[in-house]
Amino acid sequence: MPTGRPTRLAARPPAPQTAPPTLEARALSVIRAERTLLDAVDVTVEPGAFLGILGPNGSGKTTLLRCLAGALEPSTGDVSIAGRPLSAHDRAAIARTIGVVPQTFTLDFKFTVEEVVALGRFPHRGSWGRMDAEGDEAVERALADLSIEDLAHRPVTELSGGERQRVLIAQTLAQETPILLLDEPLNNLDLNHQLEVMQVLSRLNAEGRTVVVVVHDINMAAQYCDDLLLLSSGRVAAQGSPDALLTPEVLLDVFSTRVTVHRQGGRPYVTPVTVSRRRAAAGAAGLQVHLITGGGAGVDILQELVHLGFSPSLGVVSVFDSDYEAARSLGLTVVSAPPFQPLSPETVREHEELVSEADCVVLAPQVYGDGNLADLEVAERALAAGADVIVLTEPPIETRDLTGGRAAVLQQALLDGGAVPAPDASSAVTTVCGLALHRAEATTDGDPCG
């Protein structure tokens, strides 16, 4: 190996001379011990794709990846590269085309990290394994890509799990294949190394390589992958861009988990609700929620919010409303008004003051008449002032608009202005939780006990 090289990373690998071949699986089924692991899966991985495979445990992600790698013989169907079935290629030829990072790897013999990474050059070597300069460079680059140059001469048997994982990825990078298949490559890795791995993959993809990665972390997939494949019980549940795929409906369907989806850096960001609710409670105190309701329309939301540790304020409720009763019983701040009368300017002003203190305003699906139409205007001003406004859109506004369409116009204006629509109490609360969680994360940043 040449020593005293001036710049360690001087040479980037040349982009593969030829575009990666298309990797294609047709009607792939895998049945083992009478269990159907994959059921008629069709996948086409175009050259240069960055495909993320997602799915619950046991949905067949690893099985699919192993089939694509030619490591597992499907029961029916076939996998082809460049239109020729994998079985028609010999092992070494496949290993020059497809690099695989398996989930685990054991090596109880005291090879150094560098030697282990150099084993990735096997398919390119002469028969007795002599390394050429090109091989040396590939090994050096792979070590640098995974930031394990410092470990190069340590015995691989003495590494931590995360370090071994990076060695395994480096070994596959040294293989320099146009197609990379990775099975949960982020396992055992700290967050910084997770990002590092995803960025390396991203760069290799930008250089023209095909990357297929099984990821557990939906958001990691959403951030980096251009295409997602959702597997569920061995079948393709959905396939498409992260934007199209990562919706609460699809994720509820596939993962049986309620989530909220925000957008972050132009990509969807998914927060699972069942996990976040408890943690949201911790942040609840920090998020002031105001519930605009009346006529009992907000009782569900109110109880759920209080249950989660929020102390929402309410307005404007009539003293006869069940909303009022509930709020009083919970000791919450309430703006109330006498029943059956239009809101007085004083009441509206008082309400507006309370709303201005809130970070988040939830508009319960109340029936609008002339008397409480001002509630919508208050919400609009809160939105303009920068609060998050959540509008319950069911039942449809038309069915509870007694103002001849003015309420509908105002609600539409709210939604157009950036208010978040929520079909039901549960999803409204979910969104509130998402906001609280964000706030909790923002305020506990750097707090080791966070």
Binding site: M1, T3, A69, A71, D90, R91, A92, A93, I94, A95, R96, G99, V100, P102, F105, T106, L107, D108, F109, K110, F111, T112, E114, E115, V116, L119, G120, F122, P123, R125, S127, W128, G129, A152, H153, P155, T157, E158, Q171, Q175
Partner: protein, 346 residues
């Protein structure tokens, strides 16, 4: 990248040291012995053998050249060949099983070879094959034992130490029982067979050397050719396949070849244990596990080790001799226990 160069340098240094030590051991082995020849007599007799007339024939006993030519030298060469065979077979079995405790003797492969060889000795039809019948049947027995152990000990490509050792013990004992049965049933000269079983080089001859050496050499060359693939096999068969190795055929080839070299040694020297365990282990400690270097160094070290052990075996109770297998077991047994205790990262 100095550490890598350092490893290569250490490899070359080790090979040089082993070669020098081997030379010394050769001289020592040629000189010492029950006959009581002096080094000077041995030297002169050797010269007399090489070019008659160059030395005064009266300067050494008249039987000395024949003793050297027909007894000592073939025995020395046989020790070298058997040492190479057992050490490289050990290194290869360890790689294939991904377990540093694998060894022809402990795996029962040697016992399998011994049964084959015994059949060849006592079963008349094989007399027709002459001296080749011995390694041929020993080879069949060894392959049978290796296959059995692999089948018994390996689940989904993984071999745990305990299942490996238990399978080895089970297969070994079964073959040993067959061996005993054969001996008793045919009333063959038990003492000869028992001495042979304990591992001995006493009956070495040039004919045996001539049959064993090409087999061991061929086996060693094939092992060496497979060394890079064997390195990848250490990560498990599925990982090896992902990196372009045909794992099944590699495993099969290497098991057959290691069985062949084992059988070549066992057929002519009986059961000599632990060489294949100790030698590769010590070499790995010095130069690492890369089979491209491990195999040649193990071959040299194995030759040196067995030659020294045999020299000790024929001098320690001189004029009586003890089977060399007893010496290797004396050293190897405790070594094995030590390895068993500190199993990790070899």
């Amino acid at each position: 990248m100095n550490p890598r160069r350092a490893r290569r340098r250490r490899y070359r240094l080790l090979m040089a040291v082993l070669a020098a030590a081997l030379l010394g051991a050769l001289l020592l082995a040629a000189v010492v012995g029950a006959a009581g020849l002096t080094p000077a007599q041995v030297g002169r007799a050797t010269l007399g053998l090489l070019s008659p007339g160059s030395v005064d024939p009266d300067s050494y006993p008249s039987w000395a050249p024949r003793l050297l030519r027909d007894l000592r030298l073939p025995r020395i060469v046989m020790a070298l060949v058997a040492g190479i065979a057992l050490a490289t077979a050990g290194a290869t079995f360890q790689g294939v099983f991904r377990n540093p405790l694998a060894e022809p003797y402990l795996l029962g492969v040697s016992a399998g070879a011994a049964v084959g060889a015994t059949v060849a000795i006592i079963w008349r039809p094989f007399g027709a094959l002459g001296i080749f019948g011995l390694p041929a049947l020993a080879f069949l027995g060894a392959v049978l034992a290796a296959t059995l152990v692999y089948r018994l000990a390996t689940f989904a490509g993984e071999t745990s130490s305990s299942s490996l050792l238990l399978s080895g013990v089970a297969v070994g004992s079964t073959f040993t029982a067959v061996l005993s049965l054969l001996m008793v049933a045919t009333q063959y000269d038990l003492r000869t067979v028992i001495i042979w079983l304990m591992g001995g080089l006493t009956t070495a001859s040039w004919t045996k050397v001539a049959v064993a050496s090409p087999l061991v050499a061929a086996g060693f060359i094939i092992m060496l050719a497979y060394a890079p693939r064997l390195n990848l096999m250490l990560m498990g068969e599925s990982r090896a396949e992902e990196l372009g190795v045909d794992a099944h055929s590699t495993r099969r080839t290497l098991m057959i070849v290691a069985s062949l070299t084992t059988a070549s040694a066992v057929a002519f020297t009986g059961l000599i244990g632990f060489v294949g365990l100790m030698v590769p282990h010590m070499v790995r400690l010095l130069i690492g596990p890369d089979h491209r270097y491990l195999l040649p160094a193990s071959a040299l070290f194995g030759a040196l080790f067995l030659l020294l052990a045999d020299t000790l075996a024929r001098t320690i109770l001189s004029p009586a001799e003890i089977p060399v297998g007893i010496i290797t077991a004396f050293v190897g047994g405790p070594f094995f226990l030590y390895l068993l205790r500190k199993r990790r990262g070899v």
